[in-house]
């Protein structure tokens, strides 16, 4: 599904990603861990098409197609979804209106008519129930004044509405209390199938108890310096990153 070859990326001449290789197959869950500032969010943004970042070398293939030239919205139309570490506040646009627009623009890009209003309503009801989101919440301005946990839950609500092929969850667990974590993880698991894939960026094993990864990667200084099975996450939780840094430097 996603294949990243020797990806180098920079911002304002500052190099951040320095040779990422990663392959994600349909049905898989990959976890990316790594110290603060190692480049996790940057990798997520580059995959999602943030223009601020310059791809200096390497390529990103989605289902075999190089997506380097595609705008963020075109990548979204092809099924890439990024749950933001810091969701952006958009005053004046309600959650409902935003998600309606996102869905209908995606449909338009695929040559489909707008989703009929009753179908949309049904979908919104179904997905908000899945994530235990109060209906009143949906008429509020997007992310404006939302608590940290509410923002994250809302990101997964949007993901549930859009049903992406490849979902990248950037620290979706941070800011969630235990109950919310369970609800959100449950939501993500319900959406999982053999045809889609998830990349989970996290600092904590906690989330991975719910969303169980097939692979765990450690990002350090813009490179994946170690990959392993889900047990690697436990090891990191216990020992921290120092031993890996030492391994790299050795």
């Amino acid at each position: 599904m996603l294949k990243i070859n020797n990806l180098h990326a920079s911002v304002e001449d500052k190099s951040i990603l320095r040779g990422i290789n990663l392959e994600v197959k349909p049905g898989e869950v990959h976890a990316i861990m790594g110290p603060n500032g190692s480049g996790k969010s940057t990798l997520a943004s580059v995959i999602a098409g943030k223009e601020e970042y310059e791809v200096d070398k390497g390529e990103i293939l989605l289902e075999g197609e190089n997506i380097d030239e595609l705008a963020a919205e075109e990548r979204a139309h092809k099924g890439i979804f990024l749950s933001f570490q810091y969701p952006v506040e958009i005053p004046g646009v309600s959650v409902t209106n935003f998600i309606k627009t996102a869905i209908n623009e995606t449909r338009k890009a695929k040559g489909l008519e707008d989703m009929p209003a009753n179908e949309m309503l049904k979908l919104i009801r179904e997905k908000s129930e899945l994530l235990e989101i109060d209906r009143k919440f949906l008429s509020r301005s997007l992310n404006e004044g939302f608590s940290g946990g509410e923002k994250k839950r809302n990101e997964i609500f949007q993901m549930a509405m859009l049903e992406p092929k490849l979902a990248i969850l950037d620290e979706t667990d941070s800011g969630l209390d235990i109950d919310a974590l369970r609800i959100v993880a449950n939501g993500v698991n319900k959406l999982k199938s053999k045809d889609n894939a998830v990349i989970v960026i996290t600092h904590y094993q906690r989330l991975l108890d719910y969303i169980v990864p097939d692979f765990v990667h450690v990002l350090h200084n813009g490179r994946i310096v170690k990959s392993g099975p889900k047990e690697l996450a436990h090891e990191l939780e216990e020992k921290g990153y120092d031993w890996i840094k030492e391994e790299v430097n050795a």
Binding site: A76, I80, V93, N97
Partner: protein, 437 residues
């Protein structure tokens, strides 16, 4: 002959036809004198520092249209808010168009300035109100000198006018260049309520310069909601001088939607002459090309316990230029005043610019005044967020700009106007947004 000389000499001819015994006679003579002395304002004057009239004064305007020009309703229907039942006072090239209008004298007077100025039964109202709120600056004086036609609206005590009143000034284009001096007088008696929509519309690309004066008197507990729809062609310019004199416990609001025109200057003045008055000034400006919109507002807090709310949003593209000059004066007696002012702008092009200047003169000590101006670009992180959810760049921009102007629209009380403005904004931004905000 330059425009000023031309105007002054046509005044002499105009004055010849007028009744020497009219109470207006002296007012007019005084006004033309003022204009002659002061002339058109130049950038040397503080209040005109960022707006130059030069580019619009160099036309050979007709000061009086040579003939009456009729228009068919079907040709101008789209400029009316036509999906509501309303009174209409319509002018074509400065002259009243009876077949496009729908006036009334049934408990309220919705009719013409020309008849109010000439018929004895209106004499008292004219004597009490005409030119009593307008300041004696040069452009208002110019209008006063020629004041002859416009809307005359008088709402009697306790009357709640359910139908909005539309005032439309069309310019047929039969003159190669035309200058208009519409004069509106609106008197709203105690506890009465009225909603008014005003629009100036040119039908061709022949240059038009409108120098309009509107005086509004809101008596005790009156409610006046005024909407200015400025979406004219980019060959038409408008200087709008509006003066609102409020008595105790009255509520007046003016919403100004500026999307069109070559040069638009809004001189909007509120005078609070009583206690517990509420004044609201809101505006959305969205312009591009070489358009220029200048909002020059004044709220004069004279008595205690009054409020004023100003909220102007501007979006400027291409080489467009904007000005916001918001003056709030709080007199010593005006204790417990609550004066709020905000002016937020987005520049969507490197060549667009806005000059924004709050001017607070506060002489009372127990007041709440707040003001804030911002000038920004569209929020890049919001753009990426929206695009990453599949909303294309153009639509994302439009949605952000929409959202930006949203709170100004939220106080519009006539749903049809809100829809119309929403449509104009969507149109202006080149998108189809499938929902109301």
């Amino acid at each position: 002959m330059d425009l000023k000389d031309k105007i002054v000499s046509s005044y002499l001819a105009f004055e010849d036809h007028l009744d020497d015994n009219s109470p207006l006679h002296d007012i007019r003579n005084q006004a033309i004198k003022t204009f002659e002395e002061k002339g058109f304002p130049t950038k040397k004057e503080e209040a005109w520092k960022y707006t130059s009239l030069k580019s619009i004064l160099n036309q050979d305007y007709s000061v009086f249209p040579k003939q009456e020009n009729a228009l068919e309703y079907r040709d101008v229907k789209k400029y009316f808010i036509h999906d509501i039942d309303s009174y209409k006072i319509v002018f074509v090239d400065g002259r009243y168009s009876s077949h496009l209008s729908q006036t009334t004298h049934d408990g309220i007077d919705v009719c013409l300035m020309s008849s109010a100025l000439s018929k004895p039964k209106y004499r008292i109202v004219i004597e009490n109100y005409f030119n009593k709120a307008a300041t004696k600056d040069s452009l208002s004086s110019l209008n006063t000198a020629f004041a002859g036609e416009g809307a005359y609206i008088h709402i009697r005590k306790n009357k709640l006018v359910e139908k909005p009143i539309q005032i439309l000034h069309f310019c047929s284009g039969n003159e190669s260049a035309l200058m208009l001096q519409p004069r509106n007088l609106i008197v709203v008696d105690e506890n009465a309520h009225v909603q008014i929509i005003e629009r100036h519309q040119s039908l061709t690309d022949n240059p038009v310069l409108t120098n309009s004066v509107t005086e509004i008197f809101a008596n005790k507990r009156a409610i006046v909601d005024y909407y200015k729809v400025q979406n004219d062609r980019e060959t038409a310019s408008l200087i709008d001088n509006t003066f609102i004199s409020q008595k105790q416990e009255s509520h007046c609001s003016v919403h100004t939607f500026s999307f069109g025109g070559k040069l638009t200057r809004n001189n909007l003045n509120f005078f609070q002459k009583g206690e517990r008055i509420d004044s609201t000034l809101k505006g959305v400006t969205i312009i591009g090309n070489k358009q220029h919109v200048d909002h020059n507002t004044l709220v004069h807090h004279i008595e205690p316990n009054c409020e004023s709310h100003q909220d102007y949003k501007g979006i400027f593209g291409d080489n467009a230029t904007g000005v916001f000059n918001g003056k709030v004066v709080v007199e010593k007696e005006a204790q417990k005043a609550n004066a709020f002012q905000a002016n937020n702008n987005i520049l969507i092009s490197d060549k667009a610019s806005i000059n924004t200047k709050p001017q607070l003169e506060i002489f009372a000590d127990d007041v709440k005044c707040s003001h804030g101006c911002t000038i920004g670009q569209l929020d890049e992180s919001a753009m990426f967020y929206m695009r990453s959810r599949g909303i294309p760049e153009k639509e994302a921009k439009a949605l952000l700009m929409y959202a930006f102007s949203n709170n100004v629209l939220s106080s519009v009380k006539i749903p049809e106007i809100k829809q119309r403005i929403t449509k104009i904004i969507a149109n202006k931004l080149g998108v189809n947004i499938g929902f109301d905000l």
